[in-house]
């Protein structure tokens, strides 16, 4: 597709861009930390600093600044940036899902007696969350999770975390290799609803308020209107990202094509290729399936129900007494992809996939969801 160099930097036609000098980023973060628990990209402890992950900032120094990554199918490498850039890395291995829909959550506890029980729901986080540097695709993932958990009946646990959350999204000015937000209509410029959006240039962050909450925060920072040079630099970088995040997957008629492709021979290829390891569901920002586990104390006086993430790749996921509708890995792989890129649209009005590329990066056997979907949809790609 032809990309005009008059790329828009915001989907809001009245957007105002204010420049924050890079050396003032600390003020921005510390301002957020006054009222919020700031969830931001940091170096992961678990893989000895070799990956970026979302954690709660203890101080500004925790923030992962000055790194760049390369992401390819089954491959993730991180190195120091040599050009003074701050956030030119792609998606962290984790996503906002880890905070909005935590992997383990005690939903309620109950005091139990012989004649009954009294339940108390979990109170939710103590302070509201501020998500810093949420890519456009991850922002769309929050919208997708809203469609699941904020429709009747509203999930109280998700609502407690989501309603008070602040979102500082970003327009990527560098594409890392596996993501395809433009194909999915989710980026690189984020869809409206964010509180503040940032676009990184050589010397500043171009900040744009999307809500009154965002405007109030920006009013407290030393900002100048963005110069035409800064805007042009951003536009040029975004245009490049548009090109690099296009052409991986044609989404036209995709749900119908996947429904028609339920017997496509590619699923037989997948049953020997996919490990069923569920890595993709872990890193996917919209996989939401969960199970519950009930526990009780030894004295039978205190019970609880814990929610934990579950995975449709597991053999037990759909198993019932006497039957397992998806007892074959072939069926389970087909379900995951057909749901993410197909059934989801009928269920919620939007794709489950946001084009973040994580499942491609973190698949140990290099399965590319977009490539597989392209085969099944039958473009001859």
């Amino acid at each position: 597709m032809a990309v005009s160099d008059r790329v828009v930097l915001s989907k809001d036609p009245n957007a105002k861009f204010l420049a924050l000098p890079k050396e003032d980023l600390r003020r921005f973060i510390e301002l957020l930390m006054v009222d919020y628990d700031v969830i931001a990209p940091t170096l992961s402890d678990q893989v000895k600093g070799q990956a970026i992950t979302f954690t709660k900032l203890r101080t500004f120094a925790d923030l992962a600044v000055g790194f760049v990554d390369s992401q390819r199918p089954g491959n993730y490498r991180l190195q120091a940036a040599d050009d003074g850039s701050y956030f030119q890395y792609g998606n962290p291995e984790t996503s906002l899902k880890w905070f909005l829909h935590p992997p383990r959550l005690v939903m309620w506890t109950a005091d139990v007696a012989a004649d009954g029980f009294k339940i108390e729901e979990e109170p939710g986080p103590e302070r509201p969350l501020a998500f810093f540097r949420t890519t456009a695709c991850d922002w769309q993932a929050a919208y997708v999770l809203d469609l699941i958990f904020m429709r009747d009946p509203v999930d109280p646990h998700y609502r407690k975390r989501r309603e008070s959350a602040l979102f500082v999204t970003c327009t990527c000015t560098r594409a890392t290799g596996t993501c395809f937000c433009h194909d999915m209509g989710t980026g690189p410029v984020p869809n409206p609803g964010y509180d503040i959006n940032m676009t990184e240039t050589g010397d500043s962050f171009l900040l744009e308020a999307g809500t009154d909450k965002g405007r109030a925060i920006l009013a407290r920072l030393p900002l100048q209107p963005a110069t035409p040079e800064q805007l042009a630099e951003a536009q040029s970088a975004v245009a490049d990202v548009v090109e690099r995040t296009s052409g991986r997957l044609n989404t036209e008629d995709l749900p119908e094509r996947l429904m028609k492709g339920l017997e496509h021979p590619q699923w037989d290829v997948m049953k020997d290729w996919c490990l069923g390891c569920a890595n993709c569901t872990l890193v996917c920002p919209t996989c939401f399936c969960y199970t519950t586990n009930d526990r009780i104390s030894l004295d039978l006086k205190k019970a609880e129900r814990e929610r934990t993430w579950d995975f449709c790749f597991s053999w037990t996921f759909a198993a019932m007494h006497g039957a397992n509708p998806r007892g074959e890995l072939r069926q389970r792989y087909r379900h995951w992809l057909s749901h993410k890129l197909g059934f989801w649209v009928e269920q919620y009005g939007a794709f489950g996939c946001v084009g973040c590329g994580r499942c491609i990066t973190w698949c140990p056997v290099e399965i590319d969801i977009a490539a597989i979907a392209s085969i099944v949809r039958g473009d001859g790609k």
Binding site: W108, A110, V112, D115, G116, F117, I119, E121, I148, F149, P153, D155, P156, M259, L262, E263, F288, C289, Y290, T291, T292, N293, D294, R295, I296, L300, A303, R305, D310, C312, F317, A318, A319, M320, H321, G322, A323, P325, R326, E328, Q331, R334, H335, S338, H339, G342, F343, W344, E346, Q347
Partner: protein
Amino acid sequence: MTSPLLPYEAVIKDIRQETYDTATYTFAFKDPAAHAEYSFRPGQFNMLTILGVGEAAVSLSSDSGRRDCFQHTVRAVGSVTGSLARRKVGDVVGLRGPYGRGWPLEAAGDRDVLIVAGGIGLAPLRPVIEHVLRSRSAYGRLLLLYGARTPRDLCFTGDFERWHQGKDLEFHVTVDRIDGQPWEQNVGVVPLLLDKVKLSPVNTVALICGPEVMMKFTVIDLAKRGVPGDNIFVSMERNMKCAVAQCGHCFFGPKFVCKDGSVFSYPEIEQLWGKGV
């Protein structure tokens, strides 16, 4: 209670053994206000909590018009249902609901209602039988075809005499095979009972619940006899955890069995059924 997803205290008022592994439990909510507010439609289900053990979906099997109590008929097959089987009258368990899309009684008004059930599949259909018997003039003929693997597996035998004797209901029962018990009625799989009834196909609404293979063959047979697909309804079963279309366990293609179902019209699921989705 702050959230509609939390279990309420429910007291077991009565337990009636149906078979060696299935019992009908009569419940009332402990809190009178919660009980007064509770009602359900035939075909819906509740989620049963046994604290410390877990939660399972259980079909409502009583007449929905009865407001003093409601019943669940449950087979003991796992940790939750097995734990329920060890409860006594007076024990308190957790229940929340009702959930699911019930049977389309509105579509059946003035028409013949054909109920085809296998084994414990009769449980979610029993509310339909009782409802139609109570509002008899609103419906055409009421036909019940029921069967189980052996005579020992038949549920609701306590209702059989009333159902056999009534002129309001044509009732045929069968077993797949006899296991040494005295049995003078039909032997053979449930779909074969269709040979015993004379249908007005276009004017018949068929409600089917039982093992999937039984439902499949019943649907095929009904279609052969000219019952339109839109008149045929089945109750699908899937693994359920949340019952509110949020945990993903009950997915059946794009359908949530807990919310879009468990009752589906045949055309709704024709494309999906039998494909391992």
